[in-house]
Amino acid sequence: MNKIELHNTLPYVFEGRDVQSEIWLQDVTLQKGETYLVEASSGTGKSSLCSYIIGYRKDYSGNICFDGKDIRGYKVSDWTSVRKRTLSLLFQELRLFPELTAWENVEIKNGLTGYKSNKEIESWFERLGIADKMNAKVGRMSFGQQQRVAMIRALVQPFDFLMVDEPISHLDDENGRIMAAIMTEEAMRQGAGVIVTSIGKHMDLPYTKTFRL
């Protein structure tokens, strides 16, 4: 997938409101290989945008297209394939499984894609400073630690676009930098586009373009 386009897109809940946005009701194209920042205030539909693009919700007007193809027409199998091979999303609410260990949370995804070796995953755990937590249940970890686990899980798949929804909200600057570095390395290696959303604190990256949502 080379581009994501939004044509006149607007969440149903915003209809009838005076929307001032560089995304909603605009024609926006996101290119593979570029890095974008979507800056938002609370309640401007940031998580909605992520949900639309990952195919989780459809409560919007206008169109969203992947490579010119309207995603409303995507079948179940299309979405499964997109989520496995084309588009990776780090959810703001993380969507980890608290009953599983940190390692198992990553493995449950890597087992599906078979994309990364155990060694690479371990090295990420180490760089992010949570190697000692690999076998701890995620439910017992802090949100900041969980964010790092979720990031690793987001990286163990092939993707053309990586979308990260407030990835460093609970991280200190140092860990935020490490996470940004790992993310950028992997995105560059795959030649992928990166879309970062942020309410306040955002990753320090060479953004191609910044949108105000």
Partner: protein, 401 residues
Amino acid sequence: MMSLVWKLLRQHISIAQLAGFFFANLFGMFIVLLGLQFYTDVKPLFGQEDGFLKPEYLIVSKRISGMSVLGSEESFGFTGKEVTDITSQPFCKSVGAFTASQYRVVCSMGVNGVAQFGTDMFFESVPDKFVDTNLSNWTFSPEEGVIPIILPRTYLAIYNFGFAQSQSLPKISEGVVGMIDMLVVLRGNGQEQRLKGKVIGFSTRLNTILVPESFIQWSNAKFAPEADLTPNRLIVEVKNPTDDAIVKYINDHNLELEDDKLDAGKATYFLKLVTILVMCIGMLISILSFYILMLSIYLLVQKNTEKLRNLLLIGYSPVRVSLPYQLLTVGMNALVLVLSLTILYVVRSYYMNMLWAMFPQMQDGSMWPSLCLGIGLFIVVSLINIVVVRNRVMKIWNRKE
């Protein structure tokens, strides 16, 4: 990796609910299968098809009343005029006469070469076309000296219960009639001849000792050349055995039908009724247990909705996410099937032994009908389970949960 998914999705599985389903379903399934199996096993005892006499053949004799015993003797026999009259009736296809042996017959019977008992006897024959058996078995030639014989089935019961039991002799089932040795001594007209008898089968509907017509003709000519051959009984082939005209004719002419089919019919009817009742109860239990399972699965999916949704969002397909629950239900159904069939097998061998003791002629039926029914139920229930689980997961996919 599948085990990780299972590790996640087995959360909230209620062992108590599943055990409840399991035992209820096992019980229900077993009752359903037992009902059918018992029915198939016992049914032949009631509705035994008579291998030697088609249902369209009726046996007609004159009604014996006090008056006729005191009256003239010839009233037992059918005159030529009476036979012609029956033949001319519209319900009648053809008529054959029973011809009885007119000389003395002494017969001793034994099993496996050991003589057991002897008795005076008689033989009767009907025209060969009325006997439904392989005709090559149903011939007699004086040179070979072997008489094929069809006995009433009641004789077998008399032997097995009255005789074999008290003398601790082996019981005989229909399958091994060849074991019966018969030595027949014919006397009459100043002659005596020993012949061998060979029992080729048993008939429920014939109350006589039936031999081939050729034998009766030969032996009557030899041992009782002057005897009167007025038939006492007739065998009538009718177009439709349920025709009312037959009953009317029989009553009008003071005749009697030899038939036990009606009683067997009633018994079969009640057997069917009871079987259906039992199977319905079993079905009800099964359906209720199935309901428990469905509720349990609904609850399980409900409690694990968030996990299922997250799995779907990180790229798992609905098929893959449904699989553990589908395997769980199908696996339990399969276990129920196997167990209920096993219990059925054990219970069946137990009651079959009792039945064999009572009815040695009973043939060993098969378990195929219950096996097929069990597998059929398994497939239907499993398919419903698979579809229901899949639908629940699709509801999560479509965010209708």
